[in-house]
């Protein structure tokens, strides 16, 4: 090895990330970008070339910008992915017209065909060293000897069979973009552009009768880095101002991580999902927003800023376990829907429930009653009055390990009211599984004793009965009353 060689270990993960970043960047040319692991990208530029001044100009632009970023890059442009692959690998910068694939590819070596290595070797061993030779060879023997794959690759390269690339992302139904000669870098400018872009989406949305439910803003930095910001909305949205507002929150949230560097030269706003939008005739005097929409918008903005659903609705669930009895559903869809709820507990429920029951240290325990004293959060409390117990057995159909709880509503000397419970029974928890097993064992023993001679069954039973004493019940604090 040459002493000047710099040897670096291969890092496939980093290579993969780099290629994906490049693919992101290539989104500026076309939304249809497919990966060709480990070192290639397919760009389907159908219908995009005219935006860049033609196919040749587009390819020149790609090559120039990529080289500007410091990559050694080759490209080929053809009507089929197979031919483009061959060009990129053996004649960078070339463009072949549709129909001319076969003659252009003819002098290329076999590796231009994306074949498996052993197929290549096999073909070479019989003297077929270039694409043209394989193309002119009779097809039936080739298929017989080298498999259908060879013919497929051949046909794909010359365009006899259609081949589709697999784009990385679904093409957004709508998108609007803006390019700049002078890169922009301030958040205010970006917000202003979001407003402009979303305004330009309006006619298309109106024509489809849709409103957006999720949007992506792609920011292409001059040095090739791409940032994608997504916002979601609870209900379809069309107003440009509101879209801008959502991105305002998103940008405020990511402003620390968003390194503007030398600025962005392309902004694209894409509609990822859209839903039918019910147009409401606005009142001439009043703002036409219903109350639900405003709250929904607040929830969306909060989600855009904090990155997750924060505004939740409590909803009662059919369960007698206190922490399960109320579920919290994100979103604001339930507002105004007064619905009849199920049967209610006749026992008092606290106003506030602790996230998790907190263990309390009981200093003076009274069996089968509330404790006289307990210690919670390093404070000593003396119970003056208590109501209870309310016994809640576990939901055995959900989990078999739950334990019975005895809830007490207690008040201490200062008037604080708590919800305490004792978990576990003094005599141990009755379990369904052991009970069934016991029953089955008993049955088996009965049958056994019938068959065999009864050999001192008394001692055997005694062994079974000597069970380990159940663990002592534990006390927990679960809630605070009014």
């Amino acid at each position: 090895m040459h002493p000047d060689l710099d040897i670096v270990e291969e890092d496939p993960e980093a290579d993969r990330r780099l290629l994906e970043a490049l693919a992101d960047w290539c989104d500026r040319y076309t939304p249809l970008v497919a990966m060709d692991w480990p070192d290639g990208l397919y760009l389907d530029i159908t219908g995009c070339a005219h935006l860049f001044g033609g196919e040749a100009a587009l390819m020149a632009d790609v090559l120039k910008r990529m080289r500007g970023q410091g990559f050694d890059v080759r490209a080929g442009l053809a009507a089929t992915p197979g031919a483009a692959y061959a060009l990129a690998h053996f004649q960078s910068g070339a463009i072949i017209a549709e129909g001319a694939e076969a003659e252009t590819l003819a002098p290329y070596p076999l590796s231009a065909l994306r074949l498996a290595p052993d197929t290549c070797q096999g073909l070479e061993s019989v003297g077929l060293r270039v694409v043209g030779a394989v193309l002119s060879a009779p097809r039936a023997p080739l298929a017989k000897r080298f498999g259908k794959d060879l013919l497929l690759r051949l046909d794909q390269a010359v365009g006899r069979v259609d081949e589709s690339i697999r784009p990385r992302r679904a093409v957004p139904s709508l998108s609007a973009e803006r390019r700049f000669f002078e890169p922009i870098g301030t958040l205010e400018d970006i917000e202003q552009l979001v407003l402009t872009l979303s305004t330009s989406l309006q006619p298309a949305l109106a024509a489809r009768g849709e409103g957006v439910t999720s949007l992506e803003l792609a920011l292409f930095r001059v040095d090739g880095t791409v940032f994608c910001l997504r916002v979601h909305t609870a209900r379809p949205l069309r107003e440009a101002k509101l879209i801008q507002l959502l991105f305002h929150e998103k940008l405020a949230a990511v402003s620390e991580k968003l390194d503007t560097g030398y600025g962005f030269d392309l902004l694209r706003l894409s509609v990822l999902t859209a839903q039918p939008y019910v147009e409401v005739q606005n009142d001439m005097i009043e703002e036409g927003n219903s109350e639900v929409q405003n709250i929904a918008l607040l929830a969306d903005r909060v989600e855009a800023r904090l990155g997750r659903q924060v505004v939740v609705h409590p909803m009662e669930v059919a369960s007698h376990i206190p922490e399960r009895a109320v579920a919290h559903v994100p979103g604001t869809a339930l507002i105004g829907k007064e619905k009849e709820s199920g049967p209610r507990s006749t026992f008092s429920r606290p106003l506030r429930l602790l996230r998790m029951p907190e263990p309390v240290e009981v200093t003076a325990e009274i069996p089968e009653g509330p404790p006289a004293h307990f210690r919670w959060r390093r404070m000593h409390h003396r119970i003056v009055r208590a109501e209870g117990p309310e016994r809640l057995t576990p939901e055995w159909w959900r989990d078999e390990t739950g334990e019975t709880r005895d809830y007490y509503r207690v008040e201490d000397g200062e008037g604080y009211r708590y919800w305490l419970f004792r978990e576990g029974l003094y005599e141990g928890e009755p379990r369904l599984a052991p009970l069934m097993k016991e029953k089955a064992d008993e049955e088996a023993r009965r049958i056994e004793s019938k068959i065999a001679q009864p050999t001192n069954p008394a001692t055997e039973n005694e062994d079974d009965l000597r069970l380990a004493s159940p663990p002592l019940p534990r006390w927990y604090m679960h809630g605070i009353f009014a």
Binding site: V302, V310, V326, T332, G415, R417, I480, A482
Partner: protein, 327 residues
């Protein structure tokens, strides 16, 4: 007496003058007249317009409302302090008592109440529990919205944004301690937005010191022993009935302090003043006039000469004197 009345009148005139200059006082000013009789409250506002009664949120506890000049200001920030995290239950009860009034104001609109807090406050004081809220205050879960943010800055931001929504019946913002971020400016922003929207923002604070804020009213709430459950038999000893709370008006524009022991009446769904010292006393000391055995169905004739024996008491030997659980 005459001198003090004169001084009071002058004081009142000065207050009116200040109110006129500030121009934003949304509360009544009690103006004592010369003969010692309290005249009707005078309402002051910018440009001298009177304030409609709808802009006050009365608690329907008369002495408290009188002290606050008719009730809490509706479109304003109101601070409610709980001395400890444990007292957050009582403070929440007071806020929800007001909240249930608030939700009844525009029943056809189904406006929800947003309860917002930092993760810290909810971890210490417990999460609001919709089942208990519905049971005690009759607020349907659909009328409640909860939000929780880990950072104070985010929580305040959501609070500010929510405060200006006219489509929320009100906002409860729960914080813990005395964070530096919650200064005069931050509370003023909240107050202004609440004023603009005409909706209250209740700043529920756990274990916080009283520091200057923009809230015109500050109340301190701590729990008081619960009253006894009322049965046909009279109060049931050792039971936990309507919850009590002790309310101190620490700050109001009229600046008259006061402490009240209130009680939430879950049947009539209203706050009331606890004026029954007997039930309080009975909670702690057993009174012989009440039957010692809970469970008699027929009410006893307490005030007659010959007491009918309570059922269950007829025994061969005298029953030992029973004591309430509290002793």
């Amino acid at each position: 007496m005459a001198v003090s009345a004169l001084a009071q009148e002058r004081l009142c005139a000065l207050r009116h003058e200040i109110a006129r200059i500030e121009g934003v006082l949304p509360e009544r000013l009690a103006a004592p007249s010369a003969d010692g009789q309290t005249a009707d409250g005078i309402l002051m506002r910018r440009s001298g317009r009177g304030l409609p009664d709808g802009d006050l949120l009365p608690s329907h506890v008369e002495p408290l409302d009188a002290l606050l000049g008719g009730g809490l200001p509706l479109g304003a920030l109101t601070e409610i302090h709980a001395p400890t995290a444990r007292a957050a239950g009582a403070a929440a009860a007071f806020v929800l008592a007001l909240g249930s009034r608030l939700l009844q104001r525009e029943p056809q609109k189904h406006l929800p109440l947003l309860w917002l807090g930092t993760t810290e406050a909810f971890s210490e004081g417990g999460l609001p529990y919709a089942a208990g809220i519905r049971e005690t205050f009759g607020i349907a879960p659909q009328r409640l919205l909860f939000a929780e943010a880990p950072k104070l800055g985010d929580t305040l931001w959501i609070g500010e944004e929510a405060a200006r929504l006219p489509d929320l019946a009100g906002v409860i913002l729960e914080l813990r301690g005395n964070p530096r971020m919650l200064d005069l400016t931050a509370t003023r922003r909240l107050h202004r937005r609440a004023q603009a929207a005409g909706r209250p923002v209740f700043l529920l604070r756990q274990s916080a010191e009283q520091t200057p804020t923009a809230a015109p009213v500050r109340l301190l709430v701590s729990p008081a022993p619960a009253a006894l459950r009322q049965t046909l038999d009279g109060p049931l000893r050792g039971s936990l009935g309507p919850p009590g709370l002790e309310l101190t008006v620490a700050k109001s524009r009229i600046a008259r302090p006061g402490t009240f022991t209130l009680e939430w009446n879950p049947h009539e769904r209203r706050l009331q003043l606890r004026n029954d010292p007997l039930s309080n006393q009975a909670a702690n000391r057993p009174s012989r006039a009440y039957p010692t055995v809970p469970g008699s169905v027929v009410s006893l004739s307490v005030d007659r000469q010959d007491l009918a024996p309570a059922p269950g008491k007829v025994m061969g030997f005298p029953a030992p004197e029973r004591r309430a659980a509290g002793g």
